[in-house]
């Protein structure tokens, strides 16, 4: 057949595309379970990191099974509802109206008492940011925090996932003395804010810092009823 004819070119392109598509589709299906497993393990590592427990990919599952004693869903009235907390997609829940939203809670048994891990999800500068914040059983004091992002600028916004930034959240308080929710303010140097509600923002990462602040405020509002109900 003439290699320069139109028919040959079209046929060649068509067959090539079909073959390549078939190969890629089958590989993707074959590797899916292993990839899903990796994502799950990473999530468990992040949840454990928010209660200040170090784990590796190998040990995460065992530690998670031992330390996380309960996981359940709550609605914004603070009532427990049915469903799987671990696989709940926060992105979809945040898109629902406030009354329909259900939010996961992970209960962790640590040496320093019971801690409640609250997942949070919001928007940074370039894409989504998310994380896990653990509170002590007074439902007010933050015990630890872990944040991650999809594509924030390295060195600037991406600093939210460094331990130097996350460490600041330890000991901060969500409610003020009158029981009013103030969440955590991610402040610039010089900005006046009560010390127990304030962490330092990231220079050059203002929009990510503001996004993180808004994320915490929004998501704590969703958990507010649950926190108030279980206060000791």
């Amino acid at each position: 057949m003439d290699r320069n004819s139109n028919t040959y070119t079209f046929l060649y392109a068509a067959i090539m595309v079909i073959v390549v598509a078939a190969v890629l589709a089958s590989v993707s299906m074959a590797l899916k379970p292993a990839q899903k497993k990796n994502v799950e393990i990473e999530k468990k590592q992040n949840i454990l990191a928010s209660v200040n427990i170090e784990s590796t990919a190998e040990t995460a599952e065992a530690i998670y099974a031992e330390k996380i004693v309960d996981e359940y869903l709550v609605n914004t009235k603070g009532e427990k509802v049915d469903g799987n907390a671990f696989t709940t997609d926060l992105k979809k829940e945040r898109a629902k109206s406030f009354d329909e939203m259900v939010l996961p809670v992970f209960v962790c048994d640590t040496e320093e008492g019971t801690k409640y891990v609250l997942p949070v999800y919001g928007a940074g500068l370039w894409g989504p940011i998310w994380g896990y914040v653990s509170v002590s059983d007074d439902m007010n004091t933050i015990f630890g925090a872990n944040f991650d992002h999809e594509g924030e600028t390295p060195g600037l916004g991406a600093e939210i996932s460094t331990s130097a930034f996350e460490e600041q959240f330890k000991g901060k308080e969500i409610f003020d003395n009158s029981g009013e929710m103030v969440s955590i303010l991610v402040a610039k140097t010089g900005q006046v804010a009560p010390e127990e509600h304030k962490v330092d923002g990231i220079s050059g990462g203002t929009i990510t810092s503001k996004g993180l602040e808004a994320m915490l405020k929004d998501d704590f509002t969703g958990y507010e009823a649950f926190l108030n109900k279980n206060k000791k």
């Binding site: 320069n4 060649y12 590797l31």
Partner: protein, 214 residues
């Protein structure tokens, strides 16, 4: 076909890209990935292996198809082959070395745009037999990877004081612990990669007279 598999000519395909026609230091191709992934040694090594797999197989596939590819769409055919191989590499990394895959994130996808790969397909695989093309692919990827690993070695050692994540500089040397040493933060940023590559080119040219143009 009487030519032995490792004849002198074939071995030259392997060794040339390491020195006389190195893709990075002589042809100055694939620089962007050389800057991006070399802040540490481990991603440099993984990138090298990934590029080697993609380049060797793409060369062989294109070489096998070289008598059937319609001339008018040959670039598109090359791109499809490269893109398919890169996606395969990405999927495998995601399934088996998840942490490295996270670290390399977009750079694996960017192998598609690595000029070395298309350059070798167009310049070599389209006109040579599969075995020679395979050697050419391995040789060029090795030449590329060698530079990557050297740059990664110095950047991680001087920038973070570690190699492959293991601390090399003793803790007590650091000023924070009362010592005299401080990591050079600039080494972690990409401009230093360019400067290290420049130094490598300098060293190479002063030792290899063939490369000096009048």
């Amino acid at each position: 076909m009487s030519e032995p598999l490792f004849s002198k000519k074939n071995l030259k395909l392997l060794s040339d890209p390491l020195n006389d026609s190195n893709p990075i230091t002589v042809q100055v191709l694939g620089i962007c990935s050389a800057l991006a992934v070399t802040a540490q040694l481990k991603p440099s090594i993984v990138m090298t292996i990934s590029v080697m797999a993609v380049l060797a197989f793409a060369n062989v596939i294109i070489s096998l198809l070289r008598n059937t590819i319609p001339n008018r769409i040959r670039i598109i055919v090359q791109l499809v082959v490269i893109a398919a191989l890169v996606i395969l590499v990405d999927q495998v990394l995601r399934a088996y070395v998840y942490d490295v895959s996270k670290q390399l994130s977009v750079f694996v996808g960017l192998i598609i745009t690595n000029c070395i790969i298309m350059g070798r397909l167009e310049a070599f695989a389209l006109g040579n037999r599969p075995w020679q093309s395979f050697l050419d692919g391995i040789g060029n990827a090795a030449g590329y990877g060698f530079i990557l690993i050297v740059v990664g070695f110095f950047r991680e050692l001087l920038g973070s004081g570690s190699l492959l994540g293991y601390q090399i500089i003793p803790d007590s040397w650091y000023i924070a612990n009362g010592g005299f040493y401080e990591n050079n933060g600039l080494m972690v940023l990409s401009p230093m990669a360019l400067i290290v590559v420049g130094v490598i080119i300098w060293v190479q040219r002063s030792r290899n007279r063939k490369l000096i143009e009048d």
